[in-house]
Structures are given as C-alpha cells and as structure tokens.
C-alpha cells in the first residue's frame, strides 16, 4: 500500500489524490501535464506519502510488540518503508538514480527495484518455509515414535506391576489410571 502511495507520488499524479472529480481525473491523465511533472509533487502528496510511511512503520512496530513479529523481519520491512518514505519526500532521489542508470521513466526504476527486492524476499521465505516444514516433519515423526514407546513401556509396566527389588508385598504403584 505504501509502495503504491510512493509510486503515485513519484509519478506526480497528485491530482488523483487531490480530487476524485471526473474532470480533474481526466486532466491528470493528460500526457504533457504528466511529463512536466515527473519528480514533482505538491505538498499534499508529500503529506500522503509521509502519512502512509508512518502508518506502515507504526503497524510493523505494533506487530513486533503485540504479535511477536521477529525483529529480523521487522527490520527488513522497516527499511523498505523508510526507503519508500524517503523517495516520497525527496522524489528527486528517484529521478537522479534513474538518470544514473539510464532509465528515462523514474517510476520504472521504482518498480524494477521494488519487484526485484520482493522476489528476493519471497525466495528467502520459500527457503525458510521449506526448512520449517522439514523440522515440523521430524518433530511429528519423533512425537509418533515417542508415543509408541510410551505405550509399549506402559504395557510392559502393567504386565509386571512389581519391579525387581521391590519389597515383598509392596503395593504396585498405581498413580496413573490407565484410561487408554
């Protein structure tokens, strides 16, 4: 969401946000209008991007505090949010970077880098999920083996209630009603 805000902001279609009126919507689509405004933003758009970034950062911090989002992921998303916020507030950065790498249309730079970063993150997540799944499987197998072992031991205890070395006539331990 914040990415989208940042994108619109850097494109400079602030009038999209400024008014939902159909007239201004048409006006904002005008080609000349847009080309002139690449990298330019009105204070209103600046404000929107900043609000978006702040909300996003607040949301992540909340997840960390309340729901135990691991800080390594929190740091990742916070970094991305800060980058987007910086681009929103200083769209000149995006334009400069675009010129540097030879991309004419700054939003394309934003999209390319954004998609690239997200793909890397998702691949990393796939790897991590694979690892977790494998660990879960091993745990499930171990649980089944241990349960079978407990059952076997319980059965053998019930077969021979008196352990060797018990005093003669000692009452066999019966602390556990075997309901299974």
């Amino acid at each position: 969401m914040i990415g989208l805000t940042g994108l619109f902001a850097s494109v400079g279609v602030d009038s999209l946000f400024a008014s939902v009126g159909v007239d201004s919507l048409f006006a904002s689509v005008g080609v000349d209008d847009r080309l002139d405004e690449i990298g330019e933003m009105t204070p209103r758009t600046h404000l929107l991007v900043m609000i978006g970034a702040v909300v996003c950062i607040g949301f992540i911090l909340r997840l960390v505090r309340r729901h135990g989002l691991r800080s390594k992921y929190a740091l990742l998303w916070l970094t991305l949010a800060v980058v987007v916020a910086v681009l929103g507030v200083f769209p000149g950065v995006l334009v400069a970077v675009s010129r540097l790498v030879g991309i004419q249309y700054p939003p394309a730079t934003f999209l390319a880098v954004g998609v690239g970063a997200l793909i890397l993150i998702v691949i990393q997540f796939s790897w991590e999920i694979s690892r977790l799944e494998e660990r879960t499987r091993v745990l499930a197998e171990s649980a089944a083996l241990l349960a079978a072992e407990v059952e076997r031991l319980r059965a053998s205890v019930e077969d021979e209630p008196q352990a060797p070395g018990d005093a003669p006539g000692a009452v066999p331990p019966d602390d556990e009603p075997s309901s299974t």
């Binding site: 690892r131 494998e134 499987r137 499930a140 197998e141 089944a144 083996l145 079978a148 072992e149 059952e151």
Partner: protein, 240 residues
C-alpha cells in the same frame, strides 16, 4: 513389517488378519498418517504397534517414521506393505530372501512373471518417461519404481531413516538416491491383488506436475550428487 495407512479402516483389519495368519513371527508397525477414522484403534486391536502421526505427512513422512522406528528398535530388516490389501503377505518371504544378496528388494507389478496391470495411456506415457529417467540415472532398468511393496535391510533402513524424501512419488527419488549410495537393489516380480477398497489415483494435472517435479529433481541430482534431505536427529531410547 511397516504399513503406512491413511484412513484405511475398511481394509486394515483384513490385512492384519491375513498377515497374522500367514506370517505370525513378524512384528507389525502401522504408521497412521493422521487418519480421521478408526485405522489406529483397529490396528492396535489387532496387535500391531501403531505410530500415530499428529497430522498428515504424506506417504514419504509416514514411511520415514516407520524407518526411524525400525532403526530405533534395532530390526535387521523391514518390509513395507500397503494397507489396502493389494500385496499378498505370502510373498513377504520372497522379498526377504532377496536381502541375502541385496540391500533392498522391490516387488514389481511389471517385471517378467508379474501379472498384467492395466493403466491408462497418459499415465503409461508419464510412467515410461519416469522409468527412462531412472534408467539413464542409475544405468539400470526398474520396471516398477512406485511399488509400495519393498524389503529393506538394516543399512538401507538407516539410510532412509535419515534421508527418505517427503514429497509425493518419493519412492522414485528414494530409489535413485539409494542407487547412488551404492546399495544393491533387486526387483522381484509379484502379482497384485485387486484393491480391497479405495480408488486408484488417476492422471490429472496435479499428478502430471508431480511427474515433472520428480523428473526434474532427479535430473538435478546428476549435477550435484550430494543433495540429500536434512539429517534427522536420532530418537533416543528403544530396546537394544
């Protein structure tokens, strides 16, 4: 005897009864792969050890649990058998006696001497291409790579307890892995009975995907032969 079972309440009793009748000397472990019916209770009532997985792991996970159990209990050999009554318990000794000369014996539906087993055309093409892949990789011809009727000696049990693949059609991957490890594998022709219940899997998109996945996984092995599943921590305890 390792019997992976998922919701086989309708057939498990007759399988275990037949097994107890024909070969009472074998210990039976039924791996209940998160069944929602009475499979576990029925198996337990028939005197089998039941390994109840807390949730469904798929056939690969169920088998690995069985292998780990066999290793932890110190068995020298184990036979895998389907819970749906397709495999004739009378043939268990036939598989086991192969283990004197081999590490692993596979009961094959298609090897010479086995009965005809009809499959659809698309399925046959898929199976053939898989067979070809295995043939290229192992340098040997296996006629029934997906057989669920197999015998393993101690060394293979130990290897599979650590590395048995988890995903669908795991038996093919396992076969190639074991072959690369240098285990001796033989095929034994077997007759298959009609299923006592349940429906056979048909060729659909999901299955086609698995064929592609397995074949590409196998081909990936050509380049890195060391790729094996993450090692499993041994379960402590158990007699012997």
């Amino acid at each position: 005897m390792i019997i992976p079972a998922l919701n086989e309440a309708s057939t498990i009793a007759s399988v275990l009864t037949t097994l107890a009748g024909s070969s009472p000397d074998y210990d039976v472990a039924v791996v209940d792969d998160g069944s929602t019916d009475d499979t576990a209770a029925i198996a337990r009532a028939h005197g089998a050890t039941v390994l109840s997985l807390p949730f469904n792991l798929g056939i690969g996970g169920a088998l690995r649990a069985g292998f780990r159990y066999a290793v932890a209990q110190g068995y020298d050999a184990a036979v895998q058998l389907d819970a749906d009554g397709q495999h004739d318990p009378e043939l268990i000794p036939v598989l086991l006696e192969q283990l004197t000369a081999a590490n692993m014996a596979i009961g094959s539906r298609f090897a010479d001497g086995g009965a005809d087993y009809q499959v659809g055309r698309t399925r046959r093409i898929a199976m053939r291409s898989l067979e070809l892949t295995v043939r290229v990789l192992t340098g040997r011809r296996y006629t029934d790579t997906s057989s669920g009727f197999r015998a393993f000696d101690r060394s293979v049990l130990e290897y599979f307890a650590q590395t048995y693949p988890a995903e669908y059609m795991e038996s093919v991957e396992a076969l190639v892995n074991a072959s690369y490890e240098g285990f001796r594998i033989v095929e034994v022709p077997i007759d298959m009975r009609e299923r006592a219940g349940g429906t056979p899997s048909t060729m659909h998109l999901g299955l086609a995907y698995h064929y592609v996945r397995v074949i590409s996984t196998l081909l990936a092995r050509v380049r890195s032969r060391s790729r094996v599943a993450a090692p499993v921590a041994p379960v402590t305890g158990g007699p012997r």
